[in-house]
Amino acid sequence: MGITLTDKAVKHVNNFLAKRGKGIGLRLGVRTSGCSGMAYKLEFVDEINADDLVFDSAGVKVVVDAKSLPYLDGMELDFAREGLNEGFKFNNPNVKDQCGCGESFNV
């Protein structure tokens, strides 16, 4: 299983990392907060912690902490454009329901 990135996501992550000038990869995680219980984390990675798991998706290092992994396993990260908005999209098979906007979710 693990976590995968779509081609579009890979392209954008690499572009943002290059423009930022530093960072070794992309961190995905969950934390408890928000209206439906859980919220995603999406951050640049400058250092890898002891309890982190590192996946490789088409050359991008994807870092997930051990606690978050069960909620994210099997997930695909996409980059999408909706109207004028654009950004990363979590296609998470573990999600049972989510709040209206999708910023927080439940498993």
């Binding site: 907060s33 640049f44 909706e82 990363f88």
Partner: protein, 626 residues
């Protein structure tokens, strides 16, 4: 499903708490909006993928409003009610606006800022600008998928308080929270300085649609300081269109045109200008309302020739700013080009030749200002950037000083001093027993107070009576980070104090600043001579007063003919000082000094005798030893 942006490590926003901030370049011709996404500043495009929004507003009788391309498309049809370049009207009175007679609008008599009559009612420039800002805000809200924390809006470096306030009012009217107004060249420097992180002195050459700004900046380890600024608020790409237009009218031998034809031709001229950036020749064709046909070919060489004066006009403020910064063209490590007009090859060549280096054009010159504004907005909204934070120093545009005897200006803080700043200078009394001092705070570059701008007056009272020149009055000028000036005066021996606070830029239009600077340049030689003359006159008056005081006290020391000679010399000097022949004044002063030499000796002897009278020789010797 929500769309996510990548945050800095540990900075992921809680759900529904994204700090969305935007940067807006509110331009004379075009406006843009940008934001920082996943750490990268990007311009936000409209539905059709266009980042520019023409700063054009069209009002309809039913109260509806068109903004941008839709309004621009129809501007030839209805020029009177299609408002372009409204930025030139912001915070201005009718008399302040250059070429107001050439504008097709119906101005409404009003005190303060101009107002325009439109089919939807009388509108102020603030309301019109608010329409442009609202369109950009709506675009940003749609693109970011949430409410905005705030916006950084850019303004020309020379915008005064009234113009800045008008811009803020427009933003508020559009429902935007203004995080800060930022000078356009500074925003461009932020975009370049941070993205490229190159150290050294840079010039930002910003030729927009309607304004020209030059800034000399110094970048050191991400900290940058504005060394000098300059510009011309009535020079931009529009003027190049106008030059082509004049050429067309002349070449085609056109009779005076109706407004819609003027507008149509101006549009053709702008298209021709843009076409010439990448092509050797442009064709200008138009059918006028008189069914007259215009069909001309304009080549690059002709275009360069007819716009030569405009190009060199931009180089004057460049030279001046460099001189202010104490630099030569070869001290500048790079030249940042900003504004769509810098795409013109003749501009790039002239700037390249002046600095003897290729100007930097690696960021889109139309977008750099918005990108820099977005970068700052992101920071001000409280988002971490992962880069070192930077400090930005600003400068005062005109020297601040006070009036001294003879109507002369004494500069206390020179122009282009970085703010915040505080400088103090000591002044003294002019007359014996003078107990009050009037302090007149002025702003400007000229030597004479009459040629400068008066900011404030206040009085310092309670100076103990002393002989002229004995009092020590320390005057401190302090300019805080917001450009607010406070002046305080303190007599050092007694500690009596008085102070005043003023806003130096209040009510000062940007072309007024330009005019003040140009005047000071044009009158530099005159001013130096006037100053010398005034100094002689002040000295003459001081000498006359001192002599008359001495005569009143010690006339008994003089023979009648000596008194007569001195009185005659005084009369001669008084007559000379009333005129403006400095040589004559100086000669008369020499004459009076000569006539009073003997008198001075006798007075000296007399006072020594007074001091020594009744004292023993020993006491005097001891006194000497001390």
């Amino acid at each position: 499903m929500a769309l996510f942006q990548i945050a800095e490590p540990g900075e992921s926003a809680a759900p529904h708490e994204h700090k969305l901030a935007i940067g807006i370049d509110l331009g004379t011709t075009n406006s843009l909006v940008a934001t920082v996404r996943s750490g990268l500043a990007v311009c936000l495009n409209d539905q059709r993928g266009r980042s520019l929004l023409p700063s054009v507003v069209r009002y309809h009788a039913d109260g509806s409003v068109e903004v941008g391309f839709d309004a621009q498309k129809n501007q030839a049809v209805n020029p009177r009610h299609t408002i372009v370049s409204v930025k030139r009207l912001m915070g201005r009175e009718e008399k302040d606006i250059a070429h107001i007679e050439a504008m097709p609008y119906e101005f409404v008599e009003a005190s303060g800022m101009v107002k325009l009559r439109t089919p939807a009612g009388v509108k102020s420039p603030v309301e019109i600008s608010a329409e442009v800002l609202r369109a950009l805000k709506n675009r940003a809200v749609a693109a970011l998928g949430g409410e905005l924390v705030g916006a950084v809006i850019t303004v020309p470096a020379y915008f005064d308080d009234a113009q800045r306030q008008a811009t803020k009012d427009a933003a508020r009217l559009a429902g935007l929270n203004v995080l800060r107004l930022l000078n356009e060249p500074t925003a461009a420097a932020i975009a370049y300085g941070l993205d490229n992180a190159a150290e050294g002195v840079y010039a930002v050459y910003d030729l927009g649609g309607g304004t020209f700004d030059i800034s000399i900046l110094k970048l050191t380890r991400g900290v940058f300081e504005v060394l000098a600024t300059g510009g011309d608020s009535a020079l931009g790409g529009d003027d190049f269109d106008h030059r082509i237009y004049c050429w067309v009218v002349e070449e085609a031998r056109l009779q005076p045109l109706r407004p819609e034809d003027t507008r149509l031709l101006m549009m053709c001229c702008r298209e021709a200008k843009e076409f010439l950036t990448h092509n050797p020749e442009a064709r200008i064709t138009a059918r006028l309302s008189t069914s007259e046909m215009v069909d001309l070919k304009l080549d690059v060489a002709t275009f360069a020739a007819i716009t030569q004066t405009l190009v060199s006009k931009t180089l004057q403020p460049v030279k001046r700013a460099l001189r202010d910064a104490g630099l030569r063209p070869d001290d500048v490590k790079g030249v940042v080009m900003v504004g769509g007009a810098t795409r013109m090859p003749q501009i790039q060549k002239a700037v390249g030749d002046f600095f003897a280096r290729e100007p930097l054009t690696n960021l889109d010159p139309d977008k750099v200002v918005a990108l820099g504004a977005a970068t700052q907005a992101n920071l001000l909204a409280g988002n971490k950037t992962g880069k070192d934070d930077w400090l930005l120093l600003d400068v005062i545009p005109l020297s601040l000083g006070l009036e001294t005897m003879g109507g002369l200006t004494e500069k206390v803080i020179p122009r282009n001093a970085t703010i915040p700043t505080a400088r103090a200078q000591e002044f003294t009394t002019f007359k014996d027993g003078q107990t009050a001092m009037s302090i007149h705070v002025v702003q400007g570059e000229r030597e004479m107070v009459a040629d400068c701008r008066s900011l404030a007056r206040f009085e310092l009272r309670g100076i103990p009576p002393m002989v002229a020149g004995a009092a020590r009055v320390r005057v401190t000028f302090q300019v805080d980070a917001d450009g607010l000036l406070s002046v305080s005066a303190r007599e050092q021996t007694t500690g009596v104090e008085a102070s005043v606070t003023v806003k130096p830029s209040y009510g000062l239009a940007d072309d007024e600043i330009t005019r003040i600077l140009q005047d000071s340049l044009a009158h530099a030689k005159d001013d130096a001579m006037t100053r010398a003359l005034r100094e002689s006159q002040v000295e003459a008056r001081r000498l006359i007063e001192a002599t008359e005081a001495a005569l009143a006290e010690d006339a008994h020391l003089l023979k009648a003919e000596e008194t007569a000679a001195i009185t005659a010399a005084i009369a001669k000097l008084r007559a000379a000082a009333a005129g403006d022949n400095r040589r004559q004044i100086n000669m008369a002063m020499d004459d009076l000094a000569f006539e009073t030499q003997e008198f001075a000796h006798r007075r000296m002897d007399q006072s020594i005798k007074k001091v020594l009278a009744g004292r023993k020789v020993d006491e005097i010797r001891m006194g000497e030893k001390e």
